[in-house]
């Protein structure tokens, strides 16, 4: 059997199982409830967050999944995250399925429904009390008016799995849900100037951006030599980004290592993207070579990426002895 045919059959088998076998499985004893916490949110603008939580009666759970419906004309999802804290599926070390990326959130905002996000254990179970937080959903208020955050129940929506050790482990249990209420009277809309002219229709992109670099490092300083030091920064995001390097100082010492009034003659460079020289013995070339006297881009890409960087500092013969230092600011920016 060739590989493509095998792939088709495998995909078909999974779909078959997903659509036929799972719904046909008998429900285990006990029951579960999915709920929105807090149950009522009073707001007029900006963002707010709710937790989707699971609880059980007569049984412990080994899995919980929830899809979320909302009035897309009044609310838009900003982000969806694993709920954190002591009484949560994440804290219990659950595996996750369906955590949405930006495009899924965008589609959810267009549809008014977030597809199911689930957490499950492969051994053990969650306690039945108190409710276990599953996900935290942050909404942006885009229009006034009361609305409901719903938790539909059923295959591919709200489901819970039995956590009782033995033959029923992992079997579905009966699930009910309680919706959340969003109270947003139209008379109290928006902190605007001149209410008759106010029209704030906001979308706050669901992306995130993070940057991790070492807090500091030591570069050797040897005269008549190009001194280098390697480091790695990580840009964490779910969309396109670019990374800039800059010395926050201004004036003639910008980009230079200093020791009080003493200044190294040559500025520091930040390099990334090395390529071997054209001929043996040739120095490498770089995708980016930023003189910190000016600063600029040292990397670009999409999604989470580790970036290997090299600091380069030439020690000139005339540089006086001293304890030189510099601070470098790495700036990550998401594109749009």
């Amino acid at each position: 059997m060739n590989r493509s045919r095998l792939a088709v059959l495998t995909a078909g088998a999974v779909l078959l199982v997903a659509t036929v076998l799972v719904p046909a499985t008998a429900l285990a004893a006990g029951s579960g409830t999915l709920s929105v916490s807090p149950a009522t949110v009073t707001t007029s603008s900006g963002t707010f967050s709710v937790d989707i939580a699971s609880s059980t009666s007569g049984v412990n759970a080994s899995g919980a999944a929830a899809s979320v419906t909302f009035d897309k004309t009044k609310l838009q999802i900003v982000s969806v995250a694993k709920a954190s804290g002591g009484e949560s599926w994440d804290a219990a070390g659950a595996s996750w399925a369906g955590l949405p990326n930006a495009s899924i959130i965008a589609a959810a905002n267009a549809a008014g429904k977030l597809p199911a996000v689930g957490a499950y254990l492969t051994s053990g179970a969650m306690p039945d009390d108190p409710p276990q937080a599953l996900i935290t959903v942050t909404f942006l208020v885009v229009a006034c008016g009361d609305s409901t955050i719903g938790l539909p129940v059923g295959p591919s929506d709200g489901e819970m799995l039995d956590g009782t050790a033995g033959a029923t482990y992992g079997d579905p249990i009966a699930v009910t849900s309680t919706s959340g209420a969003i109270v947003n009277p139209c008379g109290q809309q928006t902190p605007d100037v001149g209410s008759s002219s106010a029209n704030i229709t906001g979308t706050v992109d669901a992306g995130f951006l993070a940057l991790t670099c070492p807090p500091s490092t030591t570069i050797p300083l040897v005269r008549n030599a190009t001194n280098t030091k390697d480091l790695t920064c990580q840009v964490s995001t779910n969309i396109v980004w670019n990374l800039n390097a800059n010395d926050p100082k201004s004036g003639p010492t910008k980009g230079h290592m200093t020791d009080g009034a003493k200044v190294l003659a040559n500025p520091m460079h930040v390099l990334s993207g090395p390529h071997a020289g054209a001929n043996p013995g040739d120095p490498p070339t770089w995708d980016y070579d930023q003189n910190l006297a000016n600063g600029g881009i040292v990397g670009a890409g999409a999604n989470t990426t580790n970036i290997a960087l090299t600091l380069s500092q030439f020690g000139a013969p005339q540089d006086p002895a001293g304890n030189y230092g510099i601070q470098i600011l790495f700036q990550a920016v998401n594109g749009f």
Binding site: V22, S95, N101, A102, I104, G166, V193, A210, I326, N334
Partner: protein, 358 residues
């Protein structure tokens, strides 16, 4: 099957059900973006400093105020400052923040923004909210305004000689509600590079956004086209290229790189180059032409020239999405033909006296 394996397979199956359910929705919404493994949608908490969301986009009428909330999270002890800055764009499309002294754009939103708190200290594991207030003045004018909110985290450097700070630039787009959003552009420069005999001719088209709002990001990317004719008017080479992913912000310039791959080495002589810039949806932003003298693998001299032919943009290039759709339709037709043929074969086999009955 023993119990642990059954547990695991049930759990994995359940995960697959959920993943399949979302995959369908994601593809329906964004057929061109389908990485097999989705990037995480939230920070893990292990990052030195994170911010959610990473981009603020609001539509506000003149005289009104909007607010947005950012969530900062740190895995290190940091002194954090939050500073509204100007947004600048380099010719390769990348973004950076610039201080007030360098923020010359008339489309700046820097002065419209404030953050509260403006500074804070974070300990490892801390999560803090920052409220961003955007006040659009009554005389804001038309179009969109831009800024970057710098979230700068500085750790203690200890006794080492190079300290690093992290700066998360939150791009901020403020659409002045109820005003015209003009997407116009002008080719401000055409650069012809050097080429060795037989090598493609590099051409760079500099496009300036002369409108009052950004454009050019996926899926409606910037498109550049070029045609090269010899002195007799014969077509020597033709090309187009898209420059996706990043928008072009008003007043800034994007360098669009083209490669004219002529079928034979460019002989010394006079040539006519026509370039166009537009959007993938067919919008033509600008066209320019130049005559130049080619000698020894480089341009000796060039002069502006009238455009001779309309330059098509998006519609002339093959849309990859259309290719995918065409192949899907084609595939469906093949399957349909196969099924019909198979059904026909079955009927023939079942016919009395057919080969399958023997």
């Amino acid at each position: 099957m023993n119990t642990p394996i059954r547990r695991l397979s049930r759990a994995l199956l359940w995960g697959a059900v959920l993943a399949l359910g979302q995959g369908g929705l994601a593809h329906a919404a964004s057929p061109s973006a389908s990485p097999p493994s989705s990037p995480p949608s939230t920070p893990t908490g292990n990052e030195m400093l994170s911010v959610t969301p990473s981009l603020i986009s609001v539509s506000v009428k003149p005289g009104a105020t909007a607010t947005a909330e950012l969530t900062l999270r740190a895995a290190a002890a940091l002194d954090v400052k939050i500073v509204p800055q100007g947004l600048a764009q380099t010719p390769d499309g990348n973004l950076k923040s610039v201080p007030q002294s360098e923020d010359a754009s008339p489309y700046s939103a820097r002065s419209m923004m404030t953050a509260a708190p403006e500074s804070l200290q974070l300990k490892p594991g801390d999560t803090r909210k920052v409220t961003v207030t955007i006040s659009v003045p009554t005389g804001a004018g038309e179009g969109t305004r831009y800024a970057i909110l710098d979230v700068v985290g500085l750790p203690a450097t200890g006794d080492k000689n190079v300290g690093f700070g992290v700066d998360l630039g939150v791009s901020t787009l403020v659409t002045v509600a109820g005003t015209a959003q003009d997407r116009t552009g002008a080719i401000s420069d055409i650069t012809i590079g050097k080429a060795l005999p037989g090598q493609p001719l590099p051409v760079t088209v500099a496009l300036t956004n002369t409108g009052n709002t950004h454009y050019g990001a996926t899926p409606d990317e910037l498109v550049a086209t070029a045609t090269l004719q010899d002195a007799s008017g014969n077509l020597v080479a033709k090309t187009d290229a898209t420059s996706g992913r990043l928008s072009l912000v008003p007043t800034f310039v994007r360098d669009l790189a083209l490669t004219l791959d002529q079928s034979k080495p460019l002989a010394d002589g006079r040539y006519h180059l026509e370039v166009g810039a537009g959007l993938k949806d067919g919008t033509v932003l600008d066209q320019k032409a130049m005559d130049f003298q080619w000698s020894g693998g480089a341009v000796l001299g060039a002069t502006g020239a009238p455009v001779q032919t309309p330059v098509a943009t998006g519609t002339s290039s093959v849309d990859p999405l259309m290719l995918v759709l065409a192949s899907l339709v084609g595939g469906a037709v093949v399957v349909l033909v196969f099924l019909v043929a198979q059904g026909s074969l079955r009927r023939r086999r079942r016919a009395p006296g057919g080969p399958s009955d023997t």
